[in-house]
């Protein structure tokens, strides 16, 4: 088991993405990096930043970042811990979370909406990481 919001978690996540043929197929033309931001709340005391660089069906980088100025990603997706947990365990659909404003996206929404299959496969990869949740 690896702790959520740890570098070990990021390493395994990157590995799962790069093993996924379904993700590779769905995201073969995707170019774009993200900050997945965990807002403070519950067991999370400070904002957590996870940088994920996705390019042509592969994950080029996945790391915990302490200085948010380190990267200028094309997208940010922010949500409280409990919402991330629900999305990562497929109890909450990521698009539904956006519509109900439980998560907040910055960046080109239209581009994201053209890669819904890839987004779904990314969540499937999250499910494969043996996660020790913080609560």
């Amino acid at each position: 088991m690896v702790k959520y919001l740890s570098q070990e978690w990021c390493d395994l996540y990157k590995e799962e993405i790069n093993k996924s043929k379904a993700y590779e197929e769905a995201a073969k033309t995707w170019e774009g990096d993200f900050y997945f931001i965990t807002e403070p709340g519950g067991p999370v005391k400070e904002k957590g930043f996870m940088y994920v660089d996705l390019y042509h069906g592969k994950c080029r980088a996945c790391e915990i970042v302490t200085d948010p100025n380190k990267y200028k990603p094309a997208f940010t997706l922010a949500a409280p811990y409990n919402i991330w947990k629900q999305i990562a365990t497929k109890k909450l659909d990521s698009t539904k979370a956006l519509i109900t404003r439980q998560s907040k996206l910055t960046g080109d929404m239209a581009k994201i909406m053209r890669y819904t299959k890839a987004a779904n496969e990314l969540t499937n990869c999250t499910m494969l990481v043996p996660t020790e949740w913080l609560d």
């Binding site: 197929e25 659909d93 539904k96 956006l98 439980q102 907040k104 819904t116 779904n120």
Partner: protein, 391 residues
């Protein structure tokens, strides 16, 4: 957290009389030239005159409205500063009205930015009303907006949960003159919304009721409305069915018949309702073949709609598929893509693009069996030939 939203729905004979009760000073009517030519605006403006509400008409909306048209409408509404925006027409006019009222609140935005990421608060300025003149899209009861980017030749699924109309007026006088072909095309859209809304993985107990009732009403009344446009009861019930279909899929999500049908419509310009209706039996079979959950839901619908009274879930579900095919046949709808007049060589060349478009629609992800490229390719091939899905 999820929510169920719908407008105040005024329905039945003389529903347009409701306009006399509306409080306001200025109404901005969003419609198209054909609706004006058919005289369908007059019953509305007559009532607005009685209520001493000034009005202005913007009638530039085209089928599948473009970003350019919406921008033009945004400028016009900004000059007029109404306290009501009223969409009168089919889905295109109602969607255009939603987009235009968002621009009233946020004139600095480009139409392609009208998404859930933005806040609008347009009700500080005006309220939104929808008056459908077709029974199909259910746009009067959803917050979705479909616009066309004519530069890239693609449809944009936009909208904000804020742009659910405040009021929808379903007066049968507005649909009595609808021609049989449009009645058939839009009616198949109703069936799709109802069945797909009922079986969507985003559905909840809140969305089941409207989907179920809309399916039964459409199965009972659509052919009557098609054969006799003057059948008032059939017209009224189809209007109700369309709005309930909108309430069903608008609060859950449409499914695979919509994502495949959208792809076909975008590339081969098959009208929306005809395209999604064509794919519905094929995608239902695809789900029945692997998903016990969706099969059980189809069976529930079949039993409730008196399509099947006994038999296993699978037998009842397949009876519903057969009923949908029979309905399409009675309406003179194409049962295969070949029947739409699309040439085989041209079609096969476009299959990769059809797959790509369908694969990246949210509606492909909201079914219990999510197809990959290979399965989608086979669905497109089988639908061309009119072959039942056996995988």
């Amino acid at each position: 957290m999820w929510n169920f939203s719908c407008p105040l729905i005024v329905y039945g004979d003389n529903s347009l009389d409701y306009l006399a009760q509306v409080k306001g000073k200025k109404a901005f009517i969003v419609t198209d030239k054909n609706i004006v030519k058919l005289g369908l605006i007059k019953p509305v403006t007559g009532k607005l005159d009685e209520a001493k509400i000034q009005w202005e008409i913007f009638d530039d909306v085209e089928p599948e409205p473009s970003l350019t048209t919406i921008k033009k409408g945004g400028v016009a509404v900004g000059k007029y500063q109404p306290d009501w925006v009223i969409g009168i027409g089919g889905g295109s006019c109602m969607d255009a009205a939603k987009a235009i009222i968002l621009l009233l609140a946020r004139p600095e935005l480009e139409p392609e930015s009208l998404s859930v990421l933005e806040e609008f608060n347009f009700r500080a300025k005006a309220r939104l009303m929808a008056i459908p003149t077709t029974s199909g899209t259910g746009s009067e009861a959803t917050w979705a907006i479909v616009l066309t980017d004519t530069k890239d030749n693609r449809k944009l699924g936009l909208g904000s949960t804020e742009c659910m109309p405040d009021v929808a007026i379903l007066d049968p006088v507005m649909v009595m003159g609808m021609p049989p072909q449009i009645t058939a095309d839009t009616g198949m859209d109703v069936i799709c919304h109802a069945i797909e809304g009922y079986t969507s993985t985003w559905g909840t107990s809140m969305t089941l009721g409207p989907g179920l009732i809309a399916t039964r009403l459409a199965l009972e009344y659509l052919v009557r409305a098609y054969k006799d446009g003057g059948d008032l009861e059939a017209r009224k019930e189809m209007m109700n069915a369309a709005t309930m279909g909108g309430m069903s899929f608008g609060n859950s999500m449409a499914g695979l018949a919509h994502s495949t049908g959208h792809a076909l419509g975008a590339i081969f310009h098959v009208p929306h309702g005809r395209a999604v209706g064509l794919f519905l039996p094929y995608t239902m079979e695809y789900l029945i073949n692997e998903s016990a959950e969706t099969t059980a839901q189809y069976a529930e619908m079949a039993r409730y709609c008196h399509v099947a009274s006994s038999g296993s879930d699978k037998e009842c579900a397949l009876a519903l598929v057969a009923r949908v095919r029979a309905l399409a046949g009675e309406l003179g709808q194409p049962l295969s893509i070949k029947d739409c007049g699309v040439g085989q060589a041209e079609y096969e060349k476009e299959i990769p693009r059809l797959i790509e478009r369908a694969l990246n629609e949210v509606m492909t992800m909201t079914v219990t069996r999510i197809p990959g490229e290979e399965d989608l390719g086979r669905i497109f091939k089988y639908a061309y030939e009119g072959k039942n899905i056996d995988f």
